[in-house]
Amino acid sequence: MSAAQRALDAAQTAPPPGSVGDRAIRSTRRTRRWGSWYVAEHRFLSLRAYAQTVVVTAIGNPVIYLYAMGVGLATLVDANLGADAVGGVSYLAFVAPALLCSAAIAVAGDEFTYPIMLGFKWNPVFFAMNAAPIQPGQIINGIVIAVAVRMFVTCGIFYGFMLLFGAVSAAAGFVSVFVAVLTGLGFGALLMAYTATLTEDTGQLAMVMRFIVLPMTLFSGTFFPLAVLPVWLQWIGWISPLWHGAELARVFSYGANEPVWLGMLHVLYLGALLALGWIWARRITARRLNK
């Protein structure tokens, strides 16, 4: 039997102990298990390139929005409608949890768009990762991990400012940070999957920001209760991750009155979006890297 035939046959069974193949199998266990974290580590290192933007937005965003909406606009709202007219609390308390969720959405908009395009095309590090023992699914996992961490930090800082502004009245207020991160990831995972399908940026991402993110922010019960809108516009809220997130965050930050089933539905809906986007993104990445 030729050496080639032996090599072909040998691969049908486990490689002999001590052979290169056997050693490769053992040494790759670590990457099989931790590969997603290695990708996340890489993302953190890359994040340093725009660390300033990350820090400035994480601190500037809550200050500006809480001040403009929660203090500026609130003065007008509370003066005209009465102190507890919107959602039974001050306008600041009403609007702050929704702004917290939209801060997470903003991070999703940063991290699940251009960095994905970059990895596939402009700075094709995904191909380099995949040439090493990293699997396509691990690339996506690593990105989700890294973004989740950035969201936690951003939302944590935001929540700190909410406390400072006196916008939180319930003891379980801190849970709204988790809700915000779930909101950001639920929306972001879908955005990531969509971006992964793009082979060319001909302005699609700018369109997403303008015609999906912006209307979503405006019509998701962020600045006024969804019930204020005519019924034929309320569907925007029902499908909007931001509405589900904001409603749930309000339950925790000031004890907004909501039936338990609806609270469960919010969590399920956001969780489903996250799972859907995540799986979809993994599939597309596997397909694009395996040419």
């Binding site: 050496a3 080639a4 032996r6 090599a7 072909l8 040998a10 691969a11 490689p15 052979s19 290169v20 193949g21 490769a24 199998i25 040494s27 790759t28 266990r29 670590r30 990457t31 099989r32 931790w34 590969g35 290695y38 580590e41 890489h42 290192l45 890359s46 390139a49 700075n123 094709p124 590090v125 191909f127 380099a128 990762m129 995949n130 040439a131 090493a132 023992p133 990293i134 699997q135 890297l289 395996n290 040419k291």
Partner: protein, 308 residues
């Protein structure tokens, strides 16, 4: 013969109806330097990606280090070093960071990766660029950094897809020197190229590949002996005259090839062919006698030149 590290049998890769690789078979022995020589679009890179366990084969059989890429992709890749055709260094990171991050992908401990990164920066002659941005490097430096990155895991096989395409002659020679050192250290090299001088410099053995199939296989010198003569006489009479003159000198040498800009006369002795041409009353504008190269082998096998 030692167990081959790469075995491909009837390897096929199809994209819908188009077969980029249409039944390719070859073997690479440990420590061997093996080349895939062919023009653009011949199926070299596709073959490389299948061997690199990042592209699923459509048909045939493939084993790398005794493992099947379909089942053990990550395991195979853990023992490979890959230098792709286009550099895919992370331009958001600095030079040394590129090595550090990449080393982690193989599950190597940080301290070990750091040590190895410094060794490789020295090997790639990039020590004083450690903190530089990737975009600030020249083409040749980027290429050397890509090779350094591919070596971070001390691979058993190094895959190089057109390693010197787009580099200036000096940068190519530096790179060849580095690759030659690796070869001396016993690293198995699998490389694609459309430069015959590169193949002659670096390859112990190669296959000539065109339109997804193997046209010939052997050591460079052996291929030249089999498919070409010892010497080649190149004569130019001007683009309009080449065809007419070719008719007049038909029968000279072992074989004649008429290219748009020149006529090639294959012979054991180029000088004596030139004398015969002059004696026939013809005066070429320029004439050159050279040794046969792989370019001639390729021309003979496919009727086309390598770099078009």
């Amino acid at each position: 013969m030692p167990e081959p590290v790469i075995v491909a049998q009837n390897l096929v890769k199809k994209y819908k109806d188009f077969a980029a690789v249409a039944g390719v078979s070859f073997e690479v022995a440990p420590g061997e330097s093996f080349g895939l020589l062919g023009p653009n679009g011949a199926g070299k890179s596709t073959t490389m990606r299948m061997v690199g366990a990042v592209s699923t084969r459509t048909g045939g059989d493939l084993r790398v280090l005794g493992l099947d890429p379909n089942r053990h992709g990550p395991e195979i890749r853990s023992r490979l070093g890959v230098v792709p055709q286009a550099d895919n260094l992370d331009t958001e990171l600095r030079v040394r960071e590129n090595l550090l991050v990449y080393g982690r992908y193989f599950g190597l401990p940080r301290a070990q990766v750091a040590r190895r990164a410094d060794e490789l920066l020295a090997f790639a002659q990039l020590e004083d660029k450690a903190k530089a941005k990737v975009d600030a490097l020249s083409g040749g430096m980027k290429r050397r950094l890509t090779i350094a990155r591919a070596l971070i895991n001390d691979p058993s096989i190094l895959l190089l897809d057109e390693p010197t395409t787009g580099l200036d002659p000096q940068a190519r020679h530096i790179l060849w020197d580095r690759l030659f050192r690796l070869k001396e250290q016993g690293t198995t090299l699998l490389l694609t190229t459309h430069y015959m001088d590169e193949a002659e410099q670096l390859c112990d053995r190669l296959v000539v590949i065109d339109k997804g199939v193997i046209m010939a296989e052997g050591a460079p010198a052996q291929l030249i002996r089999t498919y070409s003569s010892r010497e080649v006489l190149e004569v130019r009479f001007g683009s309009d005259l080449n065809a007419d003159v070719a008719a007049q000198i038909a029968g000279m040498g072992d074989r004649i090839e008429v290219l748009p800009d020149r006529i090639l006369i294959y012979s054991e002795n180029g000088e004596s062919e030139l004398v015969r041409i002059v004696e026939a009353g013809l005066t070429p504008i320029t004439s050159l006698v050279r040794r046969s190269s792989l370019e001639d082998v390729f021309l003979r096998l496919t009727g086309r030149t390598l770099v078009e």
